[in-house]
Structure formats: C-alpha cells, structure tokens
Symmetry: C2
Subunit: 191 residues, 2 copies
Amino acid sequence: MKLLEERIQRDGIVKEGNVLKVDSFLNHQMDITLFNEMGKEFKRIFTDCTINKILTIEASGIGIAAVVAQYFNAPVVFAKKSQSINLDGSVYSTKIDSFTHKRTYDVIVSKKYLSANDHILVIDDFLANGCAVNGLVELIESSGATLEGVGIVIEKGFQDGGKSLRERGVRVESLAIVDGMDAATGQITFR
Amino acid sequence: MKLLEERIQRDGIVKEGNVLKVDSFLNHQMDITLFNEMGKEFKRIFTDCTINKILTIEASGIGIAAVVAQYFNAPVVFAKKSQSINLDGSVYSTKIDSFTHKRTYDVIVSKKYLSANDHILVIDDFLANGCAVNGLVELIESSGATLEGVGIVIEKGFQDGGKSLRERGVRVESLAIVDGMDAATGQITFR
C-alpha cells in the first residue's frame, strides 16, 4: 500500500535491534484517516471472503481493527492479556511471548465471542516472529471457528512469522512488508 | 442516550460487587455500529468545542476513541500502561489504580503527542471512582494542553468519580449514567 509505505518512510524511525518506531501514526498516536484507507484496502484484498468477525489483541491492534471493521460490517473481539475479574472463567486461552515487552502473557477470549459458526479475519499492527498471530490462530482453532485470513499493517519480512504462517496455509496479507532497515542511515527497504 | 441504555438493559449483566458486565458489545466484543452512534452523540454534545485530539487509555478505551475520533477529524492518543522498550524516555507519566485488575499501573504518554497547543477530549468506556480519568487529566495538565471535556460511555453514578471531576470544573458528559444495580434481580436504574 503506497500511502502507508510513504508514511513509514517519512515518519518511521529505525532503531538498533530491528525496532521500527511508528508511534506517531500507528500505535501510540493513531491517524484515523490513514486507518480508514487501510480499512478500504483490507476490504479490497479480502473482498472474496465471508467475514463476520474481526479478531485482534490488545492494545495496539484494537484501534486499527475497530476502524477496519466498519468496511466489513462486523464486530471486533479483542483478546485480552491476563485474566480480569470482569471475565467469566469460561475462556479460550493461550500464552504469547511479547518481543516488545520481553515477557510472556496469558491471552484469553471468552467462549461466548468465538464459535464454530464464525468466519474470522485477524487484524494486527505488526507481524515479526509471529507470536501474537500464532496465539490468535490457536484461540480460533480451539473454538472451531474458520480463519479466513490475517491482515497485517507492517510485516517485518526479514523475520520468520509471515513465512511460517503462509507455509502452514494461512492467508497472510500485509499492507507493507519491510525487508530491511538500517539504524545508522534510517533507510527502510520495502518488498 | 436511549439506544445505549436499551442495550445495557438488554445485554448488560449485573454481578455482585457493583460489577456491570457489558463485554458483549463494549469492552471485549465491540459493536462498531453502536460505537458510530456514540460518536455522533459525542459530536453533538461537544459541538461547541474546538477539539484537535482525543486522549484515551489502553485497552478498552481505544476502540471507542478510534471510532468517535472520525466525527472530530482528530487523531487519537492512547496512554500506555507500563513502559515499553519502543517508547522514548521522554514521557509524561502518572500512576493509576485499576478497580478491575486490583493493581496500580504506571501510565505514560510520549511528550511528542501532548503539547500546550492541544485541545483534548478524553474518551473512556467507564467512569466509576475516576482513577483512570483523573490520571489522564493529570497527564494533560503536565503537558499544558487544554482539557475541553471528558466523554464517558457508562458512568456509575453511585460512585464518586463523576461528581468529584465536575466539582473541579471538568466538563464530564456520560452517554448513560447508572444510578443503581441489583445483582439479585438484574435490575439497572438509569439517571
């Protein structure tokens, strides 16, 4: 998606350790106009799929999923990190390692909001080693729902997450795939 | 907001300890069509205000804020719980007690995304004892930005948060104010 690549090129900041900071428009401050363009693009890409629910994970996937969902006329369910007293015990759960936070989270979705009748589009901001998306796929499999596809804003193409999901037959569509970053020059190479 | 009160009456579940579960449409599964109606209502209420930025807090405020922001043509900034390696050290921070999670969080906003030029509308799903909103107000005050108002989806009118904010001169507008709940009968009384 050209508009997104231009934005990453203009406002993204490359840091040591393969960190790409896009918090000025994606995952701290959120440019809702850009999110709407992303929603239109995901709808165009997945237009052949019957999707009745969007699944994402807190926190930075939620805003994107909420705006994207408008183009599918579907509700959003967000998987929660760690159990809250406001959730029943009746949940699907898995564990997800976070690259960003250097820890492991218990991630849950209430059984009420994922079922064998659901056709799910997973939406998330980043795909790198694939831990978060793999966890969401596992929750979907536990519920018997159908995974129609995975829509990612930025995929780090030099990490294994996207490759391994596609090899397992999961349809992964990323709006921008970064194949390389140089912290010294700030240069970002897209696929 | 009548549509919201009807939805709370129909799908909300009252539990012991003044817990109102609305996770089927508000804060686990999100009804984006309803969120759009809420966005129109907040725009109607705050139509006299000049608002250039929406501030909320992860996680359950994000989806609502993202959809509401479309009616203000404004970006959203969400305050983050606990420091991530992807954020610079240059942040406004405060501590917020969570009623739901029975713990205290460090909450931060990058100094890049709140400044003295900003006119802020705070959006959140719940207002009870006011800890989260008070924390966000403190972050806004630290930045020198102008707080135009606070838009809440569900206020628990029998707890002190709304009253104490209004007494301090903060404009708080809640789409539904619950004055009482009975876990035995499931009855919910609105103001």
